[in-house]
C-alpha cells in the first residue's frame, strides 16, 4: 500500500512542474508591461529598471523560470502589483471564507444528493426514480449565478427571511454566519447534489445487483438492513473519493456564488484581480488552485486505496 501511495505522489510531481510552467507562460503572455503598473503614475525609468533587475527580466527565459520556481517552492507566490502585499497572504486571508462556504455546500450536497440517490435506486423505474433523475438533470443545467439571483429575489426581497448578501465567520457570530450562509451554500450545493445523486444511484444499483446482497436477502434480512448494513457501505466507497474530487467544481462555483452574494472570498479575489489587472494575484491564485486540485486528487487516490481492502492488502 505504501508503495502505491508513494507512486501516486511521484506521479503528481511532473504534473505540478508542468502546471507551474503553464502559469509562468501565462504570466509572460499577459498584455502590456506589468512594471508600468507597479511603477505607478510617475513611471520613473530608474524604478522600472530596478524592477526589471529584481524580476530578472534581462536573464534568459529558462533562468527566469527556474528562479521563479525556486521562489514558489519556498512559498513565495509573488506580490500583488497593486498593493505590494504577498499573494500568499492575500490567499490565506480569503481562503477561510471560501472554505466555510465550500464546507456548507458539501454538507448540503451530501444531505440532498445521497438520500435521493439511494431512494431512486431502490425505486428504480418508478415515478420516484424518473422524478429524481429529472431534478438532477435540472440541477446540472441551472446556472448557479441565476439560481442565486432568483433565491435573493424570493427569500430576501419578497419574503425578507434571510439577508441578501455578506459574510460572517462561523467562529465570530455563528447565528449571523448561518443566516448568511444558507442561500449561497444551497446555490453552490445544488449542482453538486445533482452530481452526487446520479453517482449514488448508479453505485447503489450496481451493489444491489451483486451476489452478497442477494445472499443477505436470501438469509431473510429485512430490506432496510440489507440497504443500510450491506449495500450502502459498499456503494459509498466510490462516492467518498468522488466527493474529494468535487474540490475543483466547488472553487469554480464559488467564483460565481461569491460574486452574486458579495462574499469576500477566494473567488472574488481572482475576479477583482482580473479587473484591476493585478496579474500577480491572478497567477498566484491559478497556481494555488491547481496545487490544491492536484493534492485533492492525490487525497482521493490515497482514500480509495485505504477504503478498498483489495488494494490495501495487495
Amino acid at each position: 500500500m505504501a508503495t502505491l501511495i508513494l507512486r501516486r505522489i511521484l506521479i503528481a510531481i511532473p504534473t505540478l512542474f508542468l502546471v507551474s510552467l503553464f502559469v509562468f507562460a501565462l504570466q509572460r503572455a499577459l498584455p502590456g508591461d506589468p512594471f508600468l503598473v507597479i511603477a505607478g503614475e510617475e513611471r520613473d525609468a530608474e524604478v522600472i529598471a530596478r524592477l526589471r533587475e529584481i524580476y530578472r527580466m534581462d536573464d534568459p527565459i529558462f533562468v527566469q523560470f527556474f528562479a521563479w520556481l525556486g521562489q514558489v517552492v519556498q512559498g513565495d507566490f509573488g506580490r500583488s502589483l497593486r498593493t505590494g502585499e504577498p499573494v500568499l497572504n492575500l490567499i490565506l486571508q480569503k481562503l477561510p471564507v471560501t472554505i466555510q462556504l465550500a464546507t456548507a455546500s458539501i454538507l448540503v450536497a451530501i444531505a440532498i444528493g445521497i438520500p435521493i440517490g439511494i431512494l431512486a435506486a431502490r425505486r428504480k423505474g418508478t415515478v420516484v426514480d424518473y422524478s429524481a433523475s429529472a431534478v438532477a438533470l435540472s440541477g446540472l443545467s441551472i446556472p448557479n449565478f441565476w439560481f442565486g439571483i432568483m433565491l435573493i429575489l424570493l427569500v430576501s426581497v419578497h419574503l425578507k427571511w434571510l439577508p441578501a448578501s455578506g459574510y460572517e465567520s462561523i467562529f465570530v457570530d455563528p447565528w449571523e454566519a448561518i443566516q448568511r450562509l444558507i442561500m449561497p451554500a444551497f446555490v453552490l450545493g445544488n449542482g453538486l447534489a445533482a452530481f452526487l445523486m446520479r453517482h449514488t444511484r448508479s453505485a447503489m444499483l450496481e451493489v444491489l445487483r451483486s451476489d452478497y446482497v442477494r445472499t443477505a436477502r436470501a438469509k431473510g434480512l429485512d430490506e432496510d438492513t440489507v440497504i443500510h448494513r450491506h449495500a450502502l457501505r459498499n456503494a459509498l466507497v466510490p462516492i467518498i473519493t468522488l466527493t474529494t474530487l468535487l474540490f475543483g467544481e466547488l472553487l469554480a462555483g464559488a467564483v460565481l456564488t461569491e460574486q452574486v452574494f458579495t462574499i469576500p472570498g477566494f473567488g472574488k479575489l481572482i475576479v477583482d484581480a482580473v479587473f484591476n489587472r493585478d496579474y500577480g494575484v491572478v497567477q498566484g491564485v491559478v497556481l494555488c488552485t491547481a496545487i490544491g486540485f492536484i493534492l485533492m486528487n492525490l487525497l482521493a487516490d490515497v482514500l480509495y486505496i485505504l477504503v478498498n481492502p483489495r488494494l490495501r492488502t495487495g
Binding site: 511532473p14 504534473t15 508542468l18 502546471v19 510552467l21 503553464f22 501565462l26 503572455a29 499577459l30 498584455p31 438533470l137 435540472s138 446540472l140 443545467s141 441551472i142 446556472p143 449565478f145 441565476w146 439560481f147 439571483i149 432568483m150 435573493i152 429575489l153 426581497v157 475543483g248 467544481e249 472553487l251 469554480a252 462555483g253 467564483v255 460565481l256 460574486q259 452574486v260 481572482i270 475576479v271 482580473v274 479587473f275 496579474y279 491572478v282 491564485v285 491559478v286 488552485t289 491547481a290 486540485f293 492536484i294 486528487n297
Partner: protein, 293 residues
C-alpha cells in the same frame, strides 16, 4: 457499403432483426427528441432574430425605462428602455455562437494531439498526456478566467478562452478512443495490406472515434453556453451594449428590487438551452452506443 447492406438484409431474412439507423434510434429516444426540439427553438430564435419584426436591441428608449411585462413589452424593458424580447432573441446568437466556436476550437486542437498521442504512444504520448493532466488540474472556469484575463474581455476572447480550456478534455477522450480502436483487427488488416500511418489514422481509426466526439461536443455545448454566460455575467464576455444572456443578468442583478423581471427571462433561456443540449447529448450517447441496442 453494398456488401454491408447485403449482409444486413441477409441477416434480416434469416430472422435476425436489422439494427435501426442512428437517426431512427434518435427519433425513438425521448430524451433526444425533447432536447433536439428545445435546441431547434433556440437555433430558430438566433437565425430569425434579424428577420423578425423585433425592436432594435441596441436602441434606448428613455420613455420606457424598466417597464414591467405588458402587452407591448412581453418580458418588460431594461434599464435603458430596450425591449427584453428583442435582446433575448439577439442574445441567443451570442450564446449559440459561443457554444459552436468553442467546441470547434477544442476539437480542432484536441483532435490532432489526441490522435497523435493515442496512435504513436511512447514519449509523444507521455508528453501530451502530462501536459493534458497539468491543464486538467485547473478548474474549468478558473482556467477560462485566466485565459480571458490574458486575452482581454470580449465575446470573441471568451469563446477562445472556453475553447482552449476544453482542449485537454478532448485530447484525453480522443486519445483513449484511438488507443482502443487501433488494437482492432480491421486496423491490423489494413496495415497488413500495406496502408501507411496517415491512411490508417485518418481513414480507419478516426471515423471509428467520431461517435464519442459527437456526444462529447454536444454535452460540451451545454457547458460552453453556461461558461459564456458566466464570463459575461462576470464582465469578461460579451460587452455592452451588445446583448447576451449572461451580460443581461450581469446588468439585471443591479436592479433586483426595482425591476425583478430583468433577471427572470435571460436565466430561463440559459437554463432551457443548457437542458436542451444535455438531453440531446444523453440521447445521442444512447443512440450511438451499440451496446444500448
Amino acid at each position: 457499403m453494398a456488401s454491408l447492406d447485403s449482409i444486413s438484409s441477409a441477416g434480416a431474412s434469416a430472422g435476425v432483426t436489422a439494427r435501426p439507423g442512428v437517426f431512427a434510434r434518435l427519433l425513438r429516444n425521448k430524451s433526444a427528441l425533447i432536447g433536439g426540439s428545445i435546441v431547434l427553438v433556440f437555433v430558430l430564435m438566433a437565425l430569425l432574430a434579424p428577420i423578425l419584426p423585433l425592436a432594435d436591441p441596441f436602441k434606448s428608449n428613455f420613455l420606457a425605462i424598466r417597464k414591467p411585462p405588458s402587452e407591448l413589452y412581453w418580458f418588460g424593458t431594461d434599464e435603458l428602455g430596450r425591449d427584453q424580447v428583442s435582446r433575448l432573441f439577439f442574445g441567443a446568437q451570442a450564446s449559440l455562437l459561443a457554444g459552436i466556436v468553442s467546441v470547434l476550437i477544442a476539437v480542432a486542437i484536441g483532435l490532432p494531439f489526441g490522435l497523435i498521442a493515442g496512435w504513436y504512444g511512447g514519449w509523444i504520448d507521455i508528453v501530451i498526456s502530462r501536459v493534458t493532466e497539468a491543464l486538467l488540474a485547473c478548474p474549468f472556469l478558473i482556467l477560462a478566467i485566466a485565459f480571458a484575463a490574458v486575452l482581454g474581455p470580449s465575446l470573441t476572447n471568451a469563446m477562445i478562452a472556453i475553447g482552449l480550456s476544453a482542449v485537454p478534455i478532448f485530447i484525453r477522450l480522443i486519445r483513449g478512443q484511438v488507443m482502443s480502436v487501433k488494437a482492432e483487427d480491421f486496423v491490423e488488416g489494413a496495415r497488413a495490406v500495406g496502408a501507411r500511418d496517415a491512411r490508417l489514422m485518418f481513414c480507419h481509426v478516426l471515423p471509428n472515434t467520431l461517435s464519442p466526439i459527437v456526444v462529447q461536443s454536444t454535452l460540451f455545448m451545454a457547458q460552453a453556453i453556461i461558461l459564456e454566460a458566466a464570463l459575461s455575467f462576470l464582465g469578461l464576455g460579451q460587452q455592452p451594449p451588445a446583448p447576451s444572456w449572461g451580460q443581461m443578468l450581469n446588468v439585471a442583478k443591479n436592479f433586483m428590487e426595482q425591476a425583478p423581471w430583468m433577471s427572470v427571462a435571460p436565466g430561463i433561456c440559459i437554463f432551457l438551452a443548457v437542458l436542451g443540449f444535455n438531453l440531446l447529448g444523453d440521447g445521442l450517447r444512447d443512440a450511438l452506443d451499440p451496446k444500448e441496442n
